[in-house]
Symmetry: D3
Subunit: 238 residues, 6 copies
């Protein structure tokens, strides 16, 4: 029995609110149960130095948790003077996932930065960030298509992410914090709308996991991501 | 004529939502027009080193702007590795304002930290932070009274803040960004519910201001703060 | 009775020594009683990146305290790896005050930086810095007029600053450290030679202050600044 | 055809030299082809603050690349003032992998730190680090068993790691740099001697990968790790 | 002919003002020609962590240059966020030189920190710092003897320093900036009142120097330091 | 009797392995007894900003110790976020020593960086670094001569370094760690192949040293450096 009484293959309720803030070219508040992440996509016309003259664009991401998004207050990274390893690891993952579905040459010489700021955390913040960031990025890039800056949309696929894990010897989908902090294995899966993998990251927190367990987790992840892609499409259809 | 078509002495619409996030002991989303600040108050039982053995508590604050809370994206302070001068100045102001209404000895050996994170900015973020932070701090401290940790509430006053300024030669209340960025004089006023001043900070951005202009601004500020204190009381009465 | 036996409206003895060090284009040691600040104004021909191509100049300031300018030794900010919030707040104030009397377009594409380094502290270091920095900046800019680089002096006003406060229920002018550390209200006032306000920053350290107390403080401040402007003029006349 | 003319399932030559430096309790130079990593395991008797009183030990790792371990010189992280995201990500991976085979309670109140410094890089530095770090950690802990400090060896499994990837549409084992920098999919696999997974991290660098490709990569990885575990055992038998 | 028209073996005029600032236990302004350094010695009763329980004290030093102590303005180290290599090297040298004449056990569990801040630079700031710092340290420690805290003075020698160098093929004493910036060899010599060496640091800036040149420089240095020790004694006798 | 049973004027066994790693233009592992330093020389075609347009090149050096190169583990400088004073001091010394034998104009607009990383430390790491760095720099620059980039070799001398000191009242050559940590005087000497001095740095760790002791140390240093230059030449002749 899961703490939330969900079925093993049951996602938490998902909501995706677009146009959440007024300044960003794409702005999405995604909620996966009690996990809430604000994803703001910004378009900037200047390139990082190492890309100048390359005739291509770039997509990047930054991730942060508000100090009291968590159960006990965490020190503010800006005050400590550096971003922790977990933060850097997560924002690199988000950025790679987004770049996997964008044609950077077709994007042109501009940078899309998606800021994923966790307002409230209850497990799965990095996967919620990816799922929400895709929608924010879509809206930002779509604004370039709509105003004629881009003739063709450089996005060539859709991306979403979910966590799976082994909790009390059972493979479960979309772990919340009580599950996540007690899971024996924790895996984050990023897939596109073609059902192919963009990123798979599995970690044994307790005992090492077997190949058949890995397969069960991948099956659960695939089913979850199909549903998340539907949620994205419903949000984008509004 | 103000860009927002408001009267010179008219506040923007104010909303104060309590219990906005689930983990913080006090959590308030305050909106002053399009300016939205999330104020989370946290209680921690350990004291900073310089207060150990002092038999008193402390109230502090931190302030941050989400990178895309503003019209063009600002670099993330955590990524740049330090908080800017404006950020430090604002969080020191918020903290002083809150401490002005709390009896630190009666609070006991604990720290209240109020994190003010700007979700969306349209001028007046520091004054909105103070007005919202008071309510978040109240809820946090009240939880200590309700659970019997504190016998008496150590809060001995109420605090709110507003900006005033001279825009196109007219004294106006509660400047939004289009006004703020063109004001000749900009003043932030922090007062308590007794109508006394906790902080007054006025800056000539254009021409130096005369004593009679200063008096007009103080009058406007007093009237605005009386209304904001009513908004706080209505929110706390719910 | 004030600890220094001064009258309520009495400044400490002021001395302003010009040409104090030999390298800076303007160099002033200002003493306000035991508070001594060295103000060095430097002219540099390169602009900060955000001003390039703007056909205007800039005036900025930096502030520091020698580690043993104070009663007990403070850690050196260079060794700690960052400037504290108080330092940043003060240097922003000094710079704004100086810019309020300079026509930046007429200054041309150059930067004036005034370094205010506290040699000995006894209260009022930020206001002494402003009063001394004006004279140092004047000498630096005047050297550009004298050597023909500038045809007209871009300084269009004079600026000085003083602290006032409520000590033992009495409004007093120009607080020294024993007063400052026990004041109920502390206010820094920056004015020009026309008697108008450039900056007003008042903080209730103890009880909140009333409107009539604020007015009394402003009166004291005005009288003090008139005297400081005389001191500046006497120094510049030598 | 692979650039190195190896078979798809062929590891590069592996050598594991123990007692490579004289001060560390465990010191191993591992070579996987031209990739050379020095792994030094240190025992320290003091615990990090958050573990004090917990009656358990800790295993951690740090990773670094010498500036000219790579084809073109990289800036020294110590000079830049911070460790990059990739570095932090890798050292977290190494540490998790080692902790997966150690009983931290049985280790007692001490810390094992394994420093993995890349002397020469040609792809696969993180997996070589894990494979070498296990042997260094074994030697360090074994010294505690041999001198009677520990009655039982707290290591309850063996761990090794290898990279696999899809290069020119073919799944290949143990990528060198020319393959790694052109791979469409890159996966790092960490397994124990029971054939179970400790960590699986797969990233689509080009096209997203299919489930059957993932399976092929996992098969290759399993076969490679079996051989690496043999290499470890041969080294430890000397 | 030296730019200053001095003889090869002639020091610049030296003045040593004691009790220069009012807070420090020892405070000295030393002038060697146009080089002026403020040396403040502070006594603190707490020890650095690594000395706790050692029943001995410590003497340390910090060095800084005011941004406009030099001909063109240098960036402030506090603003850049770190002390440069030259600064660290100099303050380590000053501290070693002072410790060479103090019995740290007899000093007891306290730290003497001597802050050497360069007010005006014209060559030889590090050697002036050492010569001045000795007097400031003497006054600070002497205050502990006078108030009975220490029964015996733990200072067992006197220390002073001077620069020598080869300028236009001639060995010269006490280089000023025009000489220093064009010297072929530059040497800093620290000696005690017994005529023995505490530190010798010679650097060929142009051609490598011969043994006989080195001997000539050492002779000059010895004669200069004898005079500086006399200056210290005269200052201390006042 | 020295702990190593060496004669007072006896160097430790020296080996210099060239082409130690495969990427660097010059790569040397130097061993002086148990002290082992990897010196990698890199050629880069871009100049630091302050040299642009100067029609000359630059030679610089960086120094680091692997965390467990020493008897007890030192914190990693990259993790602490800054290089310590000792590190900066040493790398400045190495760089000055190398520049003393290179004609920077003849080198052309490029930078040679020599990274000296201590693999194993047993005293004398800075002098071993200089001796090894010369050979690495030679190989790097020679590659520019061999491929025709440079017509003439801009190296106009040879440089090597050794430590000398007073251990148990006897002057000894090439101190190992047991001697170094107990020496009364410690001196590092850098000389060229003409027998002239490039750098002399002597420090009294215990009692101040006399002129005759200094002379004895210089004699020992000269004899050691002659041998080290022979070792360099033999290595370069292979």
């Amino acid at each position: 029995m899961r703490p939330s009484a969900r079925e093993a293959n049951e996602l938490r309720p998902v909501t995706i609110e677009r146009h959440y803030t007024m300044h960003a070219e794409g702005s999405v508040l995604i909620s996966c149960g009690n996990t809430k992440v604000l994803c703001n996509a910004s378009i900037e016309d200047r390139l990082p130095g190492w890309l100048r003259g390359s005739k291509q664009g770039w997509v990047t991401a930054e991730y942060g948790m508000l100090p009291r998004s968590t159960n006990s207050r965490m020190g503010r990274e800006a005050a400590r003077g550096k971003q922790g390893g977990r933060t850097l690891e997560i924002q690199r993952l988000i950025a790679r996932s987004l770049r996997a579905v964008v044609d950077l040459k077709a994007l042109g010489e501009r940078v899309i930065t998606v800021d994923c700021d966790v307002i409230q955390a209850d497990g799965g913040t990095r996967t919620a960030s990816i799922t929400g960031a895709y929608v924010a990025m879509y809206d930002a890039i779509d604004s370039l298509v709509k105003d004629g800056t881009l003739k063709h949309n450089p996005i060539h696929g859709q991306v979403a992410a979910v966590s799976v894990g082994i909790f009390k010897n059972q493979a479960v989908l979309d772990l919340d914090y009580p599950e996540d902090s007690n899971a024996e294995t924790d895996m984050n899966i990023v897939m596109n709308d073609g059902g192919h993998f963009i990123e798979v990251q599995g970690t044994a927190e307790g005992h090492a996991f077997r190949r058949d367990e890995l397969n069960e987790l991948l099956d659960l992840g695939e089913s979850g991501i199909r549903q998340l892609i539907d949620h994205q499409n419903q949000a984008l259809a509004k």
